[in-house]
């Protein structure tokens, strides 16, 4: 590829792998996503066969299962007491198996209780609490996931969602405590500022890619760190730092700049999740129904053919990155405009940008898929908190689970081999965008 060479990408020649990728995309798009068998006599048998075929849903579920198995093994080997029972495994295997089962099942039960439903909860608030937590963690991931997915569809790998989210949180935070605006308008301005901050940070790698061919992966990685250091510097400046604090924390945001809570003050879920669903719909519309979306997908499939067809690849690359940046900026702004934090701190964006990459891959780079994937990740996060406090299993296990799920998703051939799945036609996710530097 000539991506690192000089000259605008508009002049790039076509390559064989791009053509192959386009062909691949075309066949995939032709596949129906639902695995509903047609009306035939042996409907039940067909259904079972399809269920055990390597289709998207089956691979996802089995990947989750595999990840949890590996997670369970990690729990067992890291628990000296349980591991001790394995020293006399041949004499009394029941001890080891019982201890392991208790440890792992209790941890995963708490994961479930913290994420979805706690059957022992008393009262409506307690019963809704897990769902509320899940949705709170889901909201920012939807935006960063959409950011990565949108860029993917345009043939760009946006690793910079983290940096764009950081710039988004900075802009939204500044707008939140520097501008004296009435309620309602203030929130609107803060949300817009967040999107703008991210868009600016997305524009830089976009224009560099378009004008000089500099690879967006390298530039977005570097910009992530520039943004992180900028945040650390900004927080301790006069007018930004909380005058009552000596540590690195900014002034708190005005209440007028924060999303309203959906179910009263005791539940953390806020209107950000509604915005997330709306934006998912908007991105789906943009990708599948608009002219820009068509151009974006065309460029992603085959830049050379798109150029021949009269699409400006340069302009499309810049637009893709600006939109992706704006989405990631929105995701970052959720962290201060929602209920997660009320002020800027060096770690305010946590990992939402990097998690967004995993969410996009898990969601098969499709907008509604991203929403579901973000829901799963949000649930893992929320459940992980309970698992940590009730079972004493470190929250880091959630990171392991998330990474493992995506590894298995990315290599469906491996999952297929492990479970002896029948080959299905729509098994391959659109993650094979390998282009090198």
């Amino acid at each position: 590829m000539t991506n690192t060479g000089s000259g605008s990408p508009d002049k790039e020649p076509a390559t064989a792998d791009q053509a192959a990728r386009m062909a691949l995309d075309n066949t995939e798009r032709a596949e129906p996503t639902s695995q509903q068998p047609p009306e035939r006599p042996a409907l039940g048998r067909l259904f079972v066969e399809n269920l055990w075929a390597a289709n998207t849903l089956t691979v996802t579920v089995l990947s989750l299962l595999l990840a949890m198995v590996v997670g369970g093994i990690l729990m067992i080997v890291s628990d000296p007491d349980v591991l001790g029972t394995y020293s006399y495994f041949t004499a009394r295997p029941g001890d080891a198996l019982n201890a392991s089962w208790t440890l792992v099942s209790e941890a995963y039960t708490n994961l479930f209780k913290g994420a979805i439903l706690d059957p022992d909860a008393v009262g409506l608030t307690a019963a809704l609490s897990p769902i509320s937590e899940t949705l709170t963690y889901t909201a920012p991931l939807v935006f960063t996931g959409l950011s990565v997915a949108l860029a993917f569809r345009g043939g760009l790998f946006n690793i910079g969602a983290q940096g764009q989210a950081t710039m988004g949180v900075i802009a939204a935070g500044l707008a939140g405590f520097l501008l004296p605006l009435p309620a309602g308008l203030h929130l609107l301005v803060a949300v817009f500022a967040g999107a703008l901050g991210g868009a600016v940070w997305g524009f830089i790698p976009g224009i560099l890619k378009a004008r000089t061919g500099a690879h967006e992966v390298i530039n977005t990685i570097m910009l992530n760190y520039v943004a992180a250091y900028f945040l650390v510097w900004l927080i301790v400046q006069n007018g930004v730092q909380d005058p009552n604090r000596s540590d690195a924390i900014s002034r708190p945001l005005d209440a007028s700049a924060q999303f309203p809570r959906l179910f009263g003050d005791n539940l953390r879920v806020h209107a950000g999740i509604i915005l997330a669903v709306l934006v998912t719909w908007a991105v789906a519309w943009l990708l599948n129904r608009s002219t820009l979306g068509f151009e974006l997908r065309a460029v992603g499939s085959n830049p050379a053919a798109s150029r021949t067809a009269g699409i400006s690849v340069t302009r499309t690359y810049v637009l893709i990155m600006v939109f992706a940046g704006a989405l990631a900026g929105l995701g970052g702004s959720q962290m201060v405009l929602g209920t997660t934090a009320a002020a800027l701190t060096p770690l305010v964006v946590a990992q939402v940008g990097f998690d967004g990459i995993l969410v996009a891959l898990l969601g098969r780079v499709k907008p509604w898929g991203v929403l579901l994937a973000a829901l799963l990740f949000g649930a893992l996060q929320a459940g992980g908190n309970r698992m940590q406090s009730y079972s004493g299993v470190s929250l880091e296990l959630v990171t392991v689970l998330q990474a493992l799920i995506v590894i298995f998703i990315a290599a469906p051939a491996l999952v297929k081999a492990i479970f002896q799945l029948r080959a299905a036609r729509a098994a391959r996710p659109q993650t094979s965008l390998a282009k090198g530097w």
Partner: protein, 426 residues
């Protein structure tokens, strides 16, 4: 893959007119020189700026009046910039550019040191040089891991994860066994474990290599963080108290002023890192293995036609890279600190930057790593003397420099042609 010849034509240099890359570099250097002569000189104080040849204020020192120094070295940078602009013969370019950049940095230092609070206006050169190498060490190992991988056509974004896993398993098994060498070997195996995943998924299952690298980094953060909280935090005496390599002083060489105590009284990792740069450089450009590695990274189809086993070579190089990075991670836990969660903290990505900035060559990576290490050390020094320059902006320097390099503003960087492209035989 079959169209690589077309790619090469597209990258071939075109007639750029008057503003060649050399002239652009000259222009930038001239601007820096002007900045030094005008701004640094104006801001510097007439206090002497002392560069001591020891670890503190005592002993012999190079001393210069702050204003004079800033102006003088700024003028050197300016002269070098003008010389390049005026059209210097190409063979002098690198030397003059280097002299100019050093002049700019020294001018900057004269300003900073001379305006430091009274009693602190000295710069201990031994500390600076030693700190530069210590901070550059993980970058050197990481960037070498990148060289090994990417020269054979596998993108290695997982350097961070390999360093982290190396640091972790070095600490864990070093503590459990109480033996340094067991720790070192375990560290290499830890890094290789991440590499193995990268290799299998990238080469066997054709997963996008950048995606895989990013996910593996998260996996390494998760696994090490999880085991740290489960094992090391509750019982640090058993699981997180690895023995440490002591410093080995090399006779005679350690007597050299400044460089001696800084470079030849270090621990095994320093010597190992420098040795590896040399070995990999020679290996890559002077041996059969190196020629094959480079050919697989540039044009795997051609290499395959000539009988090179592309996939096997890639597997071997990626695994080797993991071992190198794992040892780099151990340079933390078996020499300096005990393991903490996410202790690599982005060094793997700076190593990636060093690899790219050093144009995918071992010596280039070494120089880039030293430059980044120096920027890091300078940030520490400047915040110690209460400089007006925020340390965060110095910390951004490696990343910004890499963006400029990739965008083609400072020379041109070009990755191996087949870097990141899976090879499918047939």
């Amino acid at each position: 893959m079959s169209t690589m010849a077309v790619d090469d034509v597209a990258v071939a240099p075109v007639n750029e007119g008057f503003w060649t890359r050399t002239r652009k570099a000259g222009l930038v250097l001239t601007a820096l020189g002007l900045l030094a002569v005008l701004l640094f000189t104006a801001l510097a104080s007439s206090e002497p700026a002392r560069f001591t040849l020891s670890e503190d204020a005592s002993g012999a020192a190079l001393k210069i009046n702050g204003t004079v120094g800033a102006a003088l070295f700024g003028a050197v940078a300016l002269a070098a910039g003008v010389a390049i602009l005026a059209g210097l013969p190409t063979r002098w370019f690198t030397l003059v550019l280097g002299v100019g950049l050093v002049g700019f940095v020294v001018s900057f230092l004269c300003w900073q040191v001379s305006t430091a609070p009274a009693g602190q206006n000295f710069m201990p050169l031994v500390n600076i040089v030693r700190g530069t190498f210590i901070l550059a060490l993980p970058l050197i190992f990481g960037a070498l891991a990148g060289v090994l991988c990417e020269r054979s056509g596998v993108v290695n974004v997982a350097i961070e994860g390999q360093l982290l896993m190396g640091a972790f398993s070095g600490a864990l098994f070093g503590s459990l066994s109480g033996n340094l060498w067991v720790g070192l070997i375990a560290a290499a195996i830890g890094g290789t474990f991440i590499s193995l995943l990268l290799a299998v998924f990238a080469i066997r299952y054709l997963v996008d290599q950048v995606v895989m690298g990013i996910v593996l980094n998260l996996l390494a953060v998760g696994i090490t963080g999880f085991l740290y909280e489960r094992l090391m935090q509750p019982d640090p005496a058993k699981y997180n108290s690895a023995p440490r390599f002591s410093d080995w002083e090399i006779p005679l060489l350690s007597e050299i002023p400044v460089l001696g105590p800084a470079l030849f009284a270090g621990n095994i990792f320093l010597y190992l890192g420098l040795l590896l740069v040399l070995v990999i450089h020679i290996g890559l450009f002077r041996t059969r293995w190196g020629l094959r590695t480079r050919s697989v990274g540039e044009h795997p189809t051609a290499a395959d036609t000539l009988g090179v086993r592309v996939l096997r070579l890639r597997y071997r190089n990626v695994l080797l890279a993991g071992a190198v990075a794992g040892i780099g991670g151990a340079s933390y836990t078996l020499a300096l600190f005990s393991f903490t969660k996410n202790m690599i903290g982005g060094k793997g990505f700076i190593a990636l930057a060093a690899l790219i900035f050093g144009r995918w060559s071992p010596t280039g990576a070494l120089l880039a790593a030293l430059f980044f290490g120096f920027a890091d050390q300078l940030a520490t020094y400047l915040s110690a003397i209460n400089s007006a320059i925020p340390s965060q902006f110095l910390a951004m320097l490696p990343y910004l420099a890499t963006i400029l390099a990739v965008a083609g503003l400072v020379g041109r960087v070009r990755a191996p042609a087949a870097d990141g492209k899976p090879y499918i035989k047939g």
